[in-house]
Symmetry: C2
Subunit: 351 residues, 2 copies
DNA sequence: CGGAGCACCGTGAGCGCTCACAGTCTCCAT
DNA sequence: ATGGAGACTGTGAGCGCTCACGGTGCTCCG
């Protein structure tokens, strides 16, 4: 009886019936001359299985082209093997920022190597956030990687309430709920860069800071202030509206206006720095001769600007690695602590 | 009996036992005073349900905080509600290219709005490709969005062999298996841009083409040739090694060397154009006065270069929309045909 | 007034797997 | 010989859902 002949012509979802049903454990077991249980055992780390049946089962799996039905498995184990990568950004940051892309890529790769899959979810709108929550509550994912949280983001707390393991990328704001995170050392990195610019002979140092409601925007500015102390007046600080090239250009224009005699600027992200470089060039300032520029991230564009950008490298692949490690530990019922990773200065030509 | 007290101290996976079991359909049914079947009916488009029980069930769901167990559902329906977004790129293109990020974002958004989820999968290494295949065969996904296929990519054919609906983003090479695709009109766009450059007064027009093993690299060059005809000699064509800024710079340097008197160049992608702009600037050529530059994509960087890039806009959000529409049609058992979307010229300052 | 037709509802049989338990069979110490 | 300790294996129950079917009770028409 061919299964592409629908038994009930009127039934909706005729397509479903056309679904080729793959071989099941039972089929494999029969072919291998063993029972379901034994097949299951070889599937999950063959303990207490004779080498004879092991071989038989493996051979049977090969011949039938068996592949485990994750749904059936998840139904009983209550583990899905998937992890949600949640982008808690209101807008189109993914559009622009290579940092995010890089992080996403590394996480996907790492998770994949563990046989887990990554579900990408946006959480910009209320509906999207609700979907994320439902997803978490529904046990569709074993854990959540929450990226780019703004201060006072209620999603973090809500997610925590679902009981699903969550790890945050980037240091969460102090006023939020406490949860494990993995972050680059933004503040320390900012300190390093600020010192470096000073060491290079900067007399009048200013900064383009990131948005005040992001961890990066806060921490990197804090690092700047740590070093500059009383000299970090309001005059030498301009906040960018977002992490985009345009925002960087605008912020730099403002800065140039407020502080025309500046001879160095620490820009809180590479993308912003690209904009800043444009504004500088438009204003006729040469980099690094007139103005030294230091960025942050060492993203893909950093080496492609003119001049190439001196910047702080975020160890993104390591951030990703720690992120999934922490999450998997949590998902395994173990505890895990937050981690802060050091950043390093990459010297190019802009400072 | 608290369920956080493991019954078997030695058993691995004590964590699993600690899993809070959410309310099931049965719980909802009991509370609402109806049967499982009725709850199921309201869950799936409440047909043949009295308004009284409808309300009762909804209320019960609200009160219990019920959320459907997708695994149990998938087990019987054999539909997962997920779609794989497969990146068939050997390397780190995701790192750099905003086009991809944008596409990914739109797809995630669109799919999410349909209550479906997107699994991001890489298919760069053989192991990764195998995982994708297993995933498809295992029925973990209802369909696959295959992105950025190189010519002769065996993945496409293998994927087709699994019986899972596949739609390709970008026109697949003619020598590959025939499968539905959605693409921007690369060739037509390239023609438009080439004509435009000519119309602007270009006498000596050259091109930086994309890699020859990518649809974009082939089609856009074809469009260039369509217009230039016999004037499209090997001298005025340089292929970039990849779609990156660095590759663009290198290609432009070569081109400048091979054809020093060029006064306009069509660059096959914005990212390449950024590199080209750098090379031009390094060579002391002014844009657009000495050399006009036309890009392709209208990606986020296009408006951020100096000068801002005149480029062909790919209707990415529409590409994404058609992509998921076609895929969902296929997944619904219907047929769907490939689509080619028009590109438009965006005039900025570089040409 | 009988029964066809309809709207609604409950029930049973699974989907393909895992996990605990209960064997069986072998081997060695008593 | 006899028991116990392993090593290995089969079996049953059940995860939470959907779908077909068979039952209600009602209306409406001949």
């Amino acid at each position: 009886m061919p299964d592409d002949a629908p038994a009930h012509p009127k039934s909706r979802g005729a397509a479903r019936r056309a679904q080729r049903r793959g071989p099941t454990m039972e089929d494999v077991a029969t072919l291998a001359g063993v029972s379901r249980g034994t097949v299951s055992r070889v599937l999950n780390g063959a303990n207490h299985v004779s080498s004879a049946s092991l071989r038989a089962v493996q051979e049977a799996m090969r011949r039938t082209g068996y592949v485990v039905n994750q749904n059936a498995r998840s139904l009983v184990t209550k583990r899905s093997g998937a992890v949600a990568f949640v982008l808690s950004e209101p807008s189109d940051r993914l559009f622009e920022d290579p940092v995010l892309g890089s992080l996403l890529r590394h996480c996907t790769q790492l998770l994949g190597a563990q046989g887990r899959s990554l579900m990408l979810m946006l959480a910009g709108t209320p509906e999207e956030r609700e979907r994320v929550l439902v997803f978490a509550r529904g046990g569709h994912v074993d854990g959540v990687l929450l990226v780019s949280m703004h201060s006072g983001d209620p999603l973090a707390a809500d997610l925590l309430g679902t009981g699903v393991p969550v790890v945050v990328c980037g240091r969460p704001p102090a006023d939020g709920p406490s949860m494990p995170y993995v972050a680059a050392d933004d503040r320390g990195g900012a300190r390093l860069m600020t010192k470096y610019l000073l060491d290079q002979g900067a007399k009048r140092l200013a900064t383009v800071a990131g948005p005040g409601d992001t961890p990066g925007g806060v921490e990197r500015l804090a690092g700047f202030r740590d070093v500059l102390g009383r000299r970090a007046t309001a005059k030498v600080i301009v906040r960018a509206a977002s992490y985009s090239i345009d925002a960087g250009r605008e912020a730099m224009e403002q800065l140039l206006h407020a502080c025309p005699d500046l001879d160095a600027v620490f820009v809180a992200s590479d993308l912003l720095a690209v904009g800043a470089l444009q504004a500088l060039s438009a204003a006729g300032r040469r980099v690094p001769d007139d103005v030294r520029v230091g960025g942050f991230d060492d993203s893909a564009i950093a080496s492609a600007t003119t001049p190439p950008l001196t910047t702080m490298r975020q160890p993104l692949s390591q951030v990703a690695a720690e992120l999934v490690e922490v999450l998997l530990q949590l998902a395994g019922g173990r505890t895990a602590s937050s981690r802060v990773l050091p950043t390093t200065l990459v010297r190019r030509d802009s400072a």
